[in-house]
């Protein structure tokens, strides 16, 4: 049970660690031990210095990668077809599929007929303002539109748990804000899914999240988990409030130490850690 809520646990991570490489000389301790509980219907944002293992953690939750130690349990409805879906930073949508077929991809993999899959994807295409581009190929879309396709693709399978790895990082500031607001609206108006959302932007984390989890420099561990004190439903105007900035500064104090830590490590190793992504 997560403090202050009565919702059951959806994700329970216990002592999760990940190392890369077999050779002791070059092996990297990327993550952990990391513990995290996420309640059903909770929107958790994870922040931390570059290379601290955020993506690694998310990929383990998604089942794309196994931990080296520890375990994560996800509690899903037995009836759900695709309990977990992920939105990747680089979109990972397929250039050889039209927008609507990209969006229906997850359902088609589940054996849903093409016609029905496309039909069910249409709702999300409309919701994300892509209806006019259903038959277009991704190469003809802008970066922001591609990211919407990738979000629509994840939402179309109606996942209980939605994992998002810096989904807006590649977008410009305005577009980023637009998509944040859209996601906020979608999440608050539809059945509230459990979301783990990785970001480098504290503002984004506060606008969207019920809770912000701050991770340490690599190997990432939990520094602190802070509840976001702003009531739902939130509106984009929240950003303009004085309390918003105060809270952001508070979080920045927490994170700053870790980022400095990371910068020192980078300087000490001659920035050889740069490949972190």
């Amino acid at each position: 049970m997560v403090e202050g809520t009565s919702a059951p646990i959806k994700i329970a991570a216990r002592g999760v660690e990940r190392h890369f490489g077999a050779d002791p000389g070059t092996a990297v301790h990327a993550l952990g031990p990391f513990d995290l509980d996420v309640a059903e219907g909770e929107f958790v944002c994870v922040v931390g210095p570059s290379g601290c293992g955020k993506s690694t953690f998310l990929r383990i939750v998604a089942g794309l990668l196994r931990p080296s130690k520890g375990d994560i349990e996800l509690y899903a409805e037995a009836s759900s077809e695709t309990p977990v879906a992920m939105v990747f930073q680089d979109y990972s949508i397929y250039p050889w599929k039209t927008v609507e077929r990209n969006v229906s991809f997850g359902l088609e993999l589940r054996g849903v007929s093409k016609k029905e899959a496309v039909e069910r994807g249409r709702h999300w295409l409309e919701r994300l303002g892509l209806a006019d581009f259903a038959k277009a190929y991704p190469d003809t879309l802008s970066g922001g539109m591609r990211q919407r396709v990738s979000i629509a693709r994840a939402l179309t399978v109606e996942p209980e748990i939605l994992l998002m790895d810096e989904p807006f990082a590649a977008l410009d500031a305005q577009l980023r804000q637009v998509l944040q607001d859209e996601l906020l609206d979608i999440w608050q108006s539809e059945a509230r899914r459990t979301v783990v959302f990785i970001t480098h932007s504290l503002e984004e984390a506060i606008v969207l999240g019920d809770r912000v989890v701050v991770m340490s420099a690599r190997p990432g561990t939990l520094v602190q988990s802070v509840d976001v004190p702003f009531a739902r439903p939130r509106t984009p105007e929240l950003r303009a409030r004085a309390e918003f900035n105060d809270f952001k500064n508070e979080l920045w104090q927490l994170l700053k130490g870790e980022v400095e830590h990371y910068m020192e490590a980078v300087r000490a190793t001659g920035a050889t850690d740069g490949g972190a992504r």
Binding site: D23, E40, R66, Y75, V84
Partner: protein
């Protein structure tokens, strides 16, 4: 919601994560073992079939054991044949590769070079290369040259296509990043186009390496004078099945070694390229 039946998805370490070193070694051993086992099974089946006269007639066809233990292996003639064939193949391979790279690069980079040469080369590409042999004999005499050029020709076409295509396919983003630093044409080639295409080029070189072995034997069978192909042929003519099958085995071995060498050079020259992204099974 929480009253409905639940399932738990568990993400935990498997053996591969708990003992990465041991797992990597074990995987490597299994791979090497299978790589050896495959041919052994094949040779074993061959052996059994010949001995028992199943399918294969023991009077006409030698078993692998007979070949390996045959007296012939100790004769200088055999190793001379291997040497002649290897040198001939390497000459053809190098000439074909150099020409293929030059034209592949030129046509990959320059649209006018492409426009000028594409249809001609494509037309030539479709000509069965063996049909060129009489032409080559007329052009280059009857000595070593036409033999080497036959191999070079076939290698050339593979290298050309496998060089041109990946250079043309280098993504815009890579090009633009260099262009934004005002890269010269040579710099663009040296720092972006060539390394971006190199992994694919090596795919082509591996294909060509196999084809070079194929061609050298074919040429030696058609123009019998020396080499493994001649050795094979003479075994048939003289009714010495050992000879024939020894030749076939030697050709296969030459192929394995040569393709392996090219692959290894590729590994050294493209350390950034993942050997494969596949996790091992779908």
């Amino acid at each position: 919601m929480s009253d409905s039946p639940q399932v738990v998805l568990r993400r935990t370490a498997s053996d591969a994560e708990k003992n990465p070193g041991a797992t990597a070694r074990r995987r490597r051993m299994i791979e090497v073992g299978l790589a050896i086992l495959g041919p052994l099974v094949f040779l074993g089946l061959w052996e059994v079939c010949v001995r028992n006269d199943w399918w294969l007639d023991g009077r006409l066809i030698s078993s692998p054991w007979e070949i390996i233990t045959s007296e012939r292996l100790r004769e200088a003639e055999v190793w001379e044949a291997v040497w002649v064939t290897t040198v001939r193949m390497l000459k053809g391979f190098v000439i074909g590769t150099v020409l293929g790279l030059i034209l592949g690069v030129a046509m990959g980079i320059n649209r006018y070079a492409r426009a000028a040469l594409n249809s001609t080369l494509t037309a030539l590409y479709t000509v069965p290369k063996i049909a060129l042999l009489p032409v080559y004999l007329l052009l280059f005499g009857f000595d070593e040259a036409p033999r080497v050029y036959m191999i070079a020709t076939v290698v050339f076409f593979f290298v050309w296509i496998y060089t041109m295509a990946p250079i043309m396919a280098v993504p815009m983003g890579y090009r633009e990043a260099a262009a934004s630093f005002n890269a010269t044409g040579w710099q663009m080639f040296r720092h972006v186009l060539w390394p971006a295409a190199l992994p694919q080029i090596f795919v082509g070189l591996r294909v060509s390496a196999g084809v070079a072995v194929l061609m050298v034997i074919a040429v030696e069978l058609i123009l019998p004078r020396d080499g493994i192909g001649y050795f094979v042929n003479r075994g048939r003519e003289l009714g010495l099945p050992d000879n024939t099958f020894l030749g076939v085995l030697l050709a296969a071995l030459l192929g394995i070694v040569f393709v392996g060498v090219v692959r290894q050079i590729g590994r050294w020259m493209t350390p950034w390229a993942p050997e494969d992204n596949s996790p091992g099974q779908i």
